[in-house]
Structure formats: structure tokens, C-alpha cells
């Protein structure tokens, strides 16, 4: 057993060298090459596979990856489980769609307003529930998810159950956020949004906020005893998450140009978001992306091959998958890989450890 007294005698050199280490090993050359190659591949992809269907699939994958990543920030990093995240998607979609439909306000501004509204809603739900244990929040998000859908289904102003058909506009495509004849701009825009979300996660991981998020996730009481204002930081996580989710909704609105409550607020969307993040690996940067990349094609396939009942068959699979992952591999695909790396690192530390 290491003895505190004798440790300090040799402390200074050991301490100094420990301090000289970087917190995280800098990205290896292999890693950097991987990112660069991936970046180039993603940018080149739509030119290599130059037909609408591959573009569409990738767009959908990116959009879901964005959604899953937004949920990941709140649930994976900060440990607050939202079961009604679709609410923010819908708010983003409707604020973009309605403001353009009724007032010809540029969808970009509509999107911004949607983000603000989503953040406000996040605060409204979060402040009362974040002081309490996790289930209170989860239940509140379930109620919100359902409640918002009910409200929009009956709200005449925004078209009630029929929703909104956006007018087709061909001039000034960038300004009116509508592109006809090619999906390429949509591809790059959603890719940019996703990149933004990933940069946010990447920065969080290397900042005080990220540390606090993870501390809150693991032991909120202990975090509190160390000076972390738990409710405040949970609210940050929720706001960031809601904002990103609503950006996805705004994008969706402009991509399909028709929205209605059943499409943008359904529980199945909230479920999918949870599944993708959890399966890929909650709390990791790549987890939600992998989750989306795996599940979107599966979803498309089941839709093609199982037609009418496809809707429930894939939900059955999703439900079962969530349960199985939670039992056997709660850290998800990427999480499992990371744990193996961490163990390897630990072994390296141990072998350099002279005393027990």
C-alpha cells in the first residue's frame, strides 16, 4: 500500500513528470489521417454517387445522426434521459414552416426562432424537474412529448392535424432554404449541421462544462459537494440538446416542405433517437453517428421488404434491441471499444507501477 509519507519524499520528480504529460494523448497520425480521409469522402460522396437515392439516404442518416447526437449530449454525457425529444424536432419544424408559410420569414430565421423556443421549453421543463431524481425528468419528457403533439393536432392556427404545406419557391434557393432539381445543397447543409453538433461534443469533452456534465451523470450529489451547480449545468445540457434537435426539425421541414403533427412529433421518433444513441454508444462522440449509420439503412430496408407492417416490425426490433443493449452492452458499440482501450491503458500504467 502506497504510504503517503514516503511518497512525498520522492514526490517532486515524479510529480513534475506527471504534470508534464498531456491530459489526453494527442491524436495519432493514423487517427488524423482517418478523419481527413473521412472528411474528404463525405464531401466527395455525392459527386461519386450522383443520383437522388444515395443522396437521400445519406441526408437521412446525417439528420438522424444529428438528432441522436443532440440526445447524446443530454443523456449520454449529462445522464438526463429524455423520452420525448421529438417535441423539439417538431418545434423546430413548425416554427420554420409556419413563419415562412404565414409571414414569408426566411426559414433560416425561422430556424433560429425555433432554436430559441426549444431552449425556452427546455428551461421550463428542466428547472422544476432537475432538482429531483432522474425519473421525474424522464416522466416529464414523456408528458411533454405527448402533450405537444396533442396541442399541435388541435391548433387551428398551424393547420391542426393537416399540418402545413410550404409554398414552393424557386427563386433565391439559399435564402428561402429550398432547393429543387438537386439534393446537393441539402446534403452539405445537413452535413454542416451534423459537423457543428460534433464540434460541440468535441469541445464539451475538453472543457469544464463537459467535466461537470459527466460528474453530474455519475454522482450528482458528489458533484454538488465539489461546487457544481447541478441544476444549472443540467439546464445547459438540455438547452444545447434541444437547440440542436430543433435545428434538425427545421432542416426536415425545408427538406420535405410539408409537416404535420403525426410526422414531426411522434413517440416513434423519440424512440429512434434513444435507440440510435444507445446502440452506437451513449456518451461517446461517434456513438450516435454509428447508431444512425446502422439503423437508418435497416429501417429503409424493412420498409421496402415488409411494406405495410414494416412500421411495427422495425419498432419491435428497436424495442427488443434497446432492451438487449441495456442488459448486455449498455455502453453501446463504441463504448465497448473505448472500454477496451481504457483497460489497455490501465495495464500500461500498472506495468510501470513498482509498488502495489
Amino acid at each position: 500500500m502506497t504510504d503517503a509519507h514516503s511518497n512525498s519524499a520522492t514526490g517532486n520528480e515524479v510529480l513534475a513528470s506527471a504534470m508534464a504529460e498531456p491530459l489526453r494523448a494527442p491524436a495519432s497520425f493514423k487517427r488524423k489521417m482517418f478523419y481527413i480521409t473521412m472528411g474528404i469522402a463525405l464531401i466527395a460522396f455525392p459527386h461519386v454517387f450522383d443520383s437522388p437515392f444515395p443522396h437521400h439516404v445519406m441526408i437521412i442518416i446525417f439528420m438522424y445522426a444529428l438528432m441522436a447526437q443532440s440526445w447524446n449530449i443530454l443523456a449520454g454525457f449529462c445522464g438526463q434521459i429524455s423520452l420525448g425529444h421529438a417535441a423539439f424536432f417538431g418545434i423546430g419544424a413548425y416554427s420554420t414552416g409556419y413563419l415562412f408559410f404565414a409571414y414569408q420569414i426566411s426559414p433560416w430565421i425561422g430556424m433560429l426562432i425555433g432554436v430559441v423556443l426549444s431552449m425556452l421549453m427546455a428551461i421550463a421543463i428542466g428547472i422544476p424537474t432537475f432538482r429531483l431524481r432522474g425519473h421525474y425528468f424522464a416522466i416529464a419528457t414523456l408528458l411533454i412529448g405527448e402533450g405537444v403533439q396533442i396541442v399541435f393536432q388541435r391548433w387551428e392556427l398551424v393547420g391542426a392535424a393537416s399540418g402545413i404545406f410550404l409554398p414552393i419557391v424557386r427563386e433565391q434557393p439559399l435564402l428561402s432554404f429550398q432547393f429543387h432539381g438537386t439534393k446537393l445543397p441539402y446534403y452539405y447543409i445537413i452535413l454542416a449541421f451534423l459537423a457543428l453538433a460534433c464540434v460541440v461534443v468535441w469541445r464539451l469533452d475538453r472543457s469544464r462544462i463537459g467535466f461537470y456534465f459527466r460528474a453530474i451523470r455519475d454522482e450528482p450529489e458528489a458533484a454538488s459537494s465539489l461546487g457544481v451547480n447541478v441544476t444549472l449545468y443540467k439546464s445547459f445540457a438540455f438547452m444545447i440538446s434541444a437547440g440542436l434537435m430543433s435545428m434538425a426539425g427545421a432542416f426536415y421541414c425545408q427538406y420535405v416542405l410539408v409537416i404535420d403533427p403525426e410526422t414531426v412529433f411522434p413517440l416513434s421518433l423519440s424512440i429512434l433517437v434513444v435507440l440510435m444513441a444507445v446502440m452506437g454508444g451513449a456518451g461517446t462522440l461517434w456513438g450516435p453517428i454509428i447508431g444512425a449509420a446502422v439503423l437508418v439503412p435497416i429501417s429503409e430496408l424493412t420498409r421496402i421488404y415488409f411494406g405495410g407492417t414494416g412500421g411495427t416490425l422495425d419498432l419491435m426490433i428497436y424495442g427488443a434491441l434497446i432492451v438487449l443493449i441495456c442488459i448486455f452492452k449498455p455502453e453501446g458499440l463504441i463504448g465497448a471499444v473505448k472500454m477496451r482501450h481504457a483497460d489497455a491503458l490501465e495495464e500500461k500504467c500498472d506495468s510501470g507501477d513498482a509498488r502495489g
Binding site: 449520454g76 424522464a138 396541442v151 388541435r154 411495427t312 416490425l313 419491435m316 428497436y318 441495456c326
Partner: protein, 288 residues
Amino acid sequence: MTWEIVVQAIISGLLMGLVYALIAAGLSLIFGLMEIVNFAHGEFMMISMFAAFWLWALFGLDPIYSVPLCAALLFFMGVATHYGIIRHILGASMLAQICATFGLAVFLRALAQFLWTPDFRSIADPMVAGRVDLAGVFLGLPQIVASVGCLIAFGFLYLFITRTETGLALQATAQDRDAAELMGIPTERMFALGWGIGAACVGVAGVFLSTFYYVFPEVGLPFALLAYVAVAMGGFGSILGSLVAGILIGLVESIGGLLIDPSYKLLIVFGLYLVIVVFRPKGLFGRY
């Protein structure tokens, strides 16, 4: 808005409230034991409702007779859920715990839709049918029977928990698992028992509900949401609290339906939830 309509709303709210109370009691029992919210609770009820429906449709068995059968079926489902799923996530993160029962709910809902289509079914001619006229106030007989039935079931539950040795062992496990284990109580089996009873409760409520409510795959969710609010209001872990809260919610929902568009009832309930959470998160009788 006549006097009769108001009284009608109050009484029918009370009656429904007893059904909610039984649903909430099952949820509360499970949570009290192991601090896990069963997000599949509504789906358990839905399965029970379908069981009652098919027993009636295929074998002509009246729902009243189905009550013990469905209770037993749901009991086994609860126990199976514990041994199959819950046992493995007891020590896991909150993410795993919440998502596991949530995933189960998704699976059951989709399974029901896959097997039985999203169509609405109803039991056309239950033994108990018709209305009763009490001084100008009309009450459906099935609703009355349902609430009486749920109240009786609740009574059994309460007596079991407080008067029988097993029930006391259950309480002990809920209060302090380690101490209970040291005293020789098989806590693992207590957990399974809790799940079984909790599921059976919601199963009984479901059968009674099927005598006057549509049966369809999505039926579980709105009732489950009400149950969560009831449990929060009554206090997580308090059976008695579920009774009081269930009745209160039934009343609020019913009277609220008079004042505003009935389809917004969920919003009233949600508002109620926020009020509870802000002012008295422990609920009326809760420990958490």
C-alpha cells in the same frame, strides 16, 4: 352546466380514479422495492386488455370471469420481466434502467400492433352493461363495477402488504434491502414477487377497463402517463398515496373535461404534475 352534470362529473371522476389508483399502486409497489420506474406499465395493462378481449371473442368468456385469469397471466409476465430483464439492470446506470423498461414498452406496443393490427376492439356485450339512474345522474354500470372491482383488488393488495408475513417481508425489502437480506428474506424473490403483484394489479385494472373502453395497442400510454403523475403525487413507494392520488387525478381529469376541451385533459394532468414537482416532489406520502 346543470347541477346534475357536475355531480355526474364528480362521481365518474371518482370511479375512474379508483381504476387509476390500482394502476398507480402497481407502479408504486415496483418503485418502492427497487427504485425502478416501470415504463412498460401501460403496455402490461394493454396486454391484459387484449387477453380479456380474446378470451371473450374466442371463448365467450365474460371479462368478469377473466379477472383472475388475466391477473395470473400478468403476474407471470411481471415475474418473467424481473428475471429476464430487470435482474440484469439493477446495478446499472439510470440510462440503462430507464431505457430497458422503455424498450420493453416499445416492443410490447409494436408486438401488439403486429399481431392484432392497430384496430380498435371492444367487448360488445359484457355481462355487466347498461346504465344506472341515481336521481338524475346517469352512471354506466360497467364503470361502477370496474371501480368497485379495483377498490376490492386494492383492498386485497393493502391487506396483503400490511397483514401477511410475505407482505411484510416485501415492505422490509423495500425499506432496506441489505437489512432484509441479513434477516433471511430472499430479496431476489421479493423483487420478482413485487413485479408479479405490480403487473397483476394493472392486469386487473385492464380487464375491468376493457368492459367499457376500447382495446387497441396504443391504449396503454395515456393511462400510464396518468399513473406516473398519480405515483408522483401520491409519493413514489406509497400504496396508500396511489389511492388518494388516483382518485384526485380522476376528479381533476373529469372536472377539467367539463371546463375545457376534453382532448386537452392530458395537459391539465401535466400541469398538475409540474405543480407537484415544484411544490411537493415527495408527494403526499412518499419517501423520495
